[in-house]
């Protein structure tokens, strides 16, 4: 039987606000346990939440970036359940009235555009963390993360393969990071993803029973977990079994998903409007203001790179995957006006150096000005492309400018015609037999002469001039 896979994702993104969503505590990651807490986020008796306006602004940014319809009035609800990392015994979230709905993200699947619907985006507070003692029957509670603002982005069940889901996740991640509202760090949990997955026989209208997957803390794991789960479900159905609606945890080491809780064990969250908070009113003026502040988004940037710089779609994709990288590239182009050359150098050498050192483009020792200068030096023939390969290594190591390095190393290209003619003549004179054979029709020997000249000039001879001069002089 042939199956179709149905995937929907729920993404939680921690927002990069300075302070928590309902109090003034810092949102910084990694403080001493419970050092970023106060009576409000500790859920002490009698304290009250006051909404951080920045959270709404960031949620509006994401809503606009995903073409979502913003609800002019939205409100908070309480999601009730007991757990030690949840001090109030309820999480303040949004339920009936989220900040926005009906958005979408467009994916590029093998050159085809595919729109993935976003059901809703809502604001909520994060929970704390439990630390379990491995040796004693004791657990510790760290509430630093409690009250850190999150937006939850819920997709429609529009994805048809784990690869599509991974692609959607990457696009979402890219937008959040571009907007500078989330650092996107999956390992630290500031970008988290749960997946709902089901299968159905091809052609069947209704959805199969779904399972919910949790605990996938990298893009790779999301795809692996989904691939595993799809296979698992297929195996069950093909063997006459039935899928059980349940929540399953991905086990990275085991490479498998395992049941966490069944539908019967699922919580009844008893959502109801939070009486401690008033509805959030978003007027057109606020929306316009946020819209004006939006940066160019990845898709638009990609299109512009192809259009304005005449770059291949592939180059545009690589360069815009990171906003800082795109900026670096554009800074280089602004100074040298050689987009393709700039793209080659950035995507080739620069990215390779950075990847090897696990460094960010923001920390790249080669300044855009230096790289532009080097490209222009190649262009005007001061150095050859081959020499540039060595120079760029030096630039990365020292952070120096190309001209200084060239001078220091005596690497200037020989473009003096007289000097080149003399050097070529020497080679011709020293190789009479080869000259005879060449003139007798052995064209291949041209390369031999080029090599000899380059060797004699320690690679500094301008290759184009050598070519031209050799052709003339060999012809006699």
């Amino acid at each position: 039987m042939e199956f179709e896979t149905i995937i929907g994702l729920e993404v939680h993104a921690q927002l990069l606000t300075e302070t928590k969503i309902f109090c003034n505590c810092s949102t910084k990651f990694g403080g001493a346990p419970n050092s970023h807490t106060c009576p409000v986020c500790l859920g002490m008796p009698g304290v009250l939440p006051v909404l951080n306006k920045k959270v709404v602004e960031y949620a509006l940014k994401m809503s606009l970036a995903t073409n979502s319809t913003i609800n002019k009035t939205c409100s908070f609800a309480r999601k009730n359940y007991f757990y030690p990392d949840l001090p109030k015994g309820y999480q303040i979230s949004q339920y009936a009235y989220p900040i926005s709905e009906h958005g979408s993200v467009v994916l590029d699947i093998d050159g085809e555009q595919k729109k993935i619907g976003i059901t809703r985006i809502h604001m909520e507070e994060d929970a704390g963390k439990l630390i379990h003692d491995d040796y004693n029957p004791m657990s510790y509670v760290d509430l630093n993360r409690t009250g850190v603002p999150l937006i939850e982005i819920v997709s429609e069940p529009d994805m048809r393969s784990p690869a599509e889901a991974a692609e959607y996740l990457k696009r979402l991640h890219e937008i959040l990071v571009y907007l500078e509202i989330c650092d996107g760090n999956m390992e630290e949990g500031s970008f988290r993803c749960d997946a709902n997955v089901s299968i159905r026989p091809k052609g069947q209208e209704e959805f199969g029973t779904r399972t919910e997957l949790k605990n996938m803390n990298s893009f790779r794991n999301v795809q692996r977990a989904l691939e595993y789960e799809v296979k698992r479900q297929q195996y069950i159905v093909e063997n006459g079994g039935e899928i059980v609606q349940e929540t399953r945890l991905w086990d990275d080491a085991q490479g498998a998903t395992n049941p966490m809780r069944s539908k019967e064990e699922a919580h009844d969250y008893r959502y109801f409007p939070d009486p401690d908070l008033v509805p959030v009113i978003v007027d057109d003026a606020w929306i316009d203001e946020v819209r004006k502040g939006l940066p160019e988004l990845p898709v638009a940037k990609r299109e512009r790179f192809v259009q304005d710089y005449q770059l291949p779609a592939y180059d545009a994709g690589v360069l815009t995957a990171d906003k800082a990288l795109a900026k670096y590239f554009e800074d280089v182009v602004a100074l040298c006006s050689r987009p393709k050359a700039a793209s080659n150098w950035v995507m080739g050498d620069v990215l390779r150096f950075l990847n090897e050192d696990k460094r960010d483009i923001r920390d790249c020792p080669i300044t855009p000005a230096s790289l532009a200068e080097m490209i222009l030096l190649i262009e005007d023939g001061t150095i050859s492309g081959k020499m540039a390969k060595d120079i760029v290594v030096e630039m990365y190591k020292t952070g120096g400018a190309p001209k200084a390095i060239i001078e220091e190393k005596g690497m200037v290209q020989i473009t003096d015609e007289g000097a080149l003619i003399a050097a070529i003549q020497k080679i011709i004179d020293a190789n009479p037999n080869q000259l005879k054979d060449y003139r007798g029709g052995k064209d291949k020997l041209f390369g031999f002469f080029v090599g000899q000249v380059m060797k004699a000039t320690q690679g500094k001879a301008n290759p184009k001039m050598v070519n031209d001069l050799l052709k003339k002089m060999l012809a006699g």
Partner: protein, 485 residues
């Protein structure tokens, strides 16, 4: 008269004239407490040392001529408002050892106004009750008849004022918890408009209904207390940023030409005849003051109790979820796992009435029941609010009895919660609608029990309440009596 028997404004005069000192006042209050507290049990905790220190500081201020609204005035705080460094129990075992690291906004304000805190007043556990019988720390007795309840949940706040164990007190009112005990104890009690007085630091029972207010010996003191308590608080989202008038200016003004709404739904069968007669007399008093009575209708009154007993427990079950033994308060010992810790902590920590309301609220919010209960109740609540808005198109204030009966006997209704719930029947509607209400003494029964008349006004019209209450107080000629203890 002893100093502890005087009102805020009387004491202020004496302080200003140098006739007395804050230290003398607080000493007279503690003398009285030593004499009667054992029988009345107004307080969960007395703050003698803090009070004496605060009085000494107040005297230094007085010496320098810096006299604030409440400088040197002994105030009792219901044990539901958080006091920094002082146990705040909410009448519950689950918070018996809880020491807040912060003051409630009202506590800050009172402190700033110069108040001297006498102690933390007894109350029904988590303010759930109408008799102060559900407190983990024992019952409070009505000073007018020690066999009777003082009302609740702010029972201790009412008895402390009535028995002169303080000059004024702070209560909280979710369904009548200030006004009902005020009526039963013969003192003035005001529930302000929702959003008028900050709830920050008020331990939540039902967040959309809770409101802090004063209990005082007369209406002028009520105005003075409101001058200190009212105002916007940026720490509370439901606090309303509206200017606060000087409430004292409404004291002594006449009410000529005012329309007094008499809601037919509040004069029903089953009201105690003595209460009924006293309230009818109150009507003639306000008429004599120039008030004009108009018949009005609050057609959804019959649903108030039902709506209240869905919304209040629903909010409560969520508000009380934080008492899990993890961070503060009571924690069951020798538990084998997390679930047992939760279960035993809460089983041991909460009393029967609190558990009953948690169960009701949890049920009302459960999947499959939400629409029929919580959602429906919220819709009816909107209609109740509309009733009041429409009524106040036709009148300036509404006059009703505060309670259907005088104080009942201790233990009389503890086994019949529904009977107990009915004692708030005239006060609950204003909490649902958010309007302010005041209870003013309107006489005594033949057995010597005090009764109260209630005035209600439009949102943020506490000034009108003080105006009519003060006019009524002045003209009603209610016999001045003190409880014989």
């Amino acid at each position: 008269m002893e100093l502890n028997q005087l009102t805020i404004h009387e004491l202020q005069e004496k302080i200003k004239n140098g006739e007395t000192s804050a230290t003398q006042i607080i000493e007279s209050v503690f003398d009285r407490i030593n004499a009667v507290e054992e029988r009345v049990h107004s307080y969960i905790r007395l703050m003698r040392d803090e009070a004496l220190a605060a009085a000494k500081k107040a005297d230094e201020e007085i010496e320098k001529g810096r006299i604030n609204t409440l400088t040197g005035i002994p105030i009792a705080l219901k044990d539901i408002v958080c006091t920094k460094g002082i146990n705040t129990t909410c009448g519950s075992r689950i918070l018996h050892n809880f020491v807040p690291p912060y003051d409630a906004t009202v506590v800050e304000k009172l402190r700033k106004a110069g108040a001297v805190f006498v102690g933390k007043a007894n109350m029904d556990e988590f303010a759930m009750g109408s008799s102060t019988e559900t407190s983990y720390f024992g019952v409070t007795r009505n000073p007018w008849d020690l066999e009777r309840i003082p009302g609740g949940s702010s029972g201790g706040s009412a008895t402390a004022v009535a028995a002169d164990e303080c000059i004024a007190s702070i209560g909280s009112d979710t369904g009548g918890s200030i006004r009902q005990p005020a009526a039963h104890c013969g003192v003035v009690g005001l529930k302000p408009t929702y959003g008028r007085v900050s709830r920050f630091g008020l331990i939540a029972f039902a967040s959309s209904l809770d409101q802090i207010g004063p209990l005082t010996k007369d209406v002028e003191d009520c105005a003075l207390m409101m001058n200190v308590l009212a105002g916007y608080d940026p720490r509370e989202s439901t606090s309303v940023p509206m200017e606060v008038p000087d409430y004292r200016q409404f004291v002594g003004r006449d009410i000529k030409g005012w329309k007094i709404g008499i809601p037919q739904e509040y004069f029903i069968e089953g009201i105690d005849p003595e209460v009924s007669a006293a309230v009818k007399k109150a009507i003639t008093v306000v008429q004599a003051c120039g008030g004009q009575c108009v018949d009005i209708s609050l057609p959804h009154t019959e649903y108030c109790l039902a709506v209240y007993y869905i919304i209040a427990p629903a909010e409560a079950c969520s508000n009380l979820a934080r008492y899990d033994g993890v961070r503060y308060g009571h924690r069951a010992s020798e538990v084998k796992d997390l679930l047992e810790m939760y279960k035993r902590t809460r089983r041991e920590g909460f009393g029967a009435e609190v558990k009953r309301r948690i169960m009701i609220g949890t049920y009302a919010l459960s999947a499959g029941y939400y629409d029929a209960y919580y959602k429906k109740a919220s819709q009816v609540r909107a209609l109740i609010r509309r009733d009041f808005d429409e009524a106040f198109q036709k009148c300036d204030v509404i006059l009703t009895p505060t309670t259907p009966t005088p104080a009942f006997k201790i233990g009389e209704k503890t086994d019949t919660p529904l009977q107990m719930y009915l004692s708030d029947i005239f006060t609950i509607s204003t909490n649902l609608a958010g309007n302010p209400g005041i209870s003013v003494p309107c006489g005594f029964t033949a057995a010597g029990l005090p009764m109260g008349v209630q005035f209600l006004a439009g949102h943020f019209e506490e000034g009108k309440l003080i105006q009519i209450a003060s006019a009524y107080e002045k003209n009603a000629n209610i016999e001045k009596r003190r409880p014989q203890l």
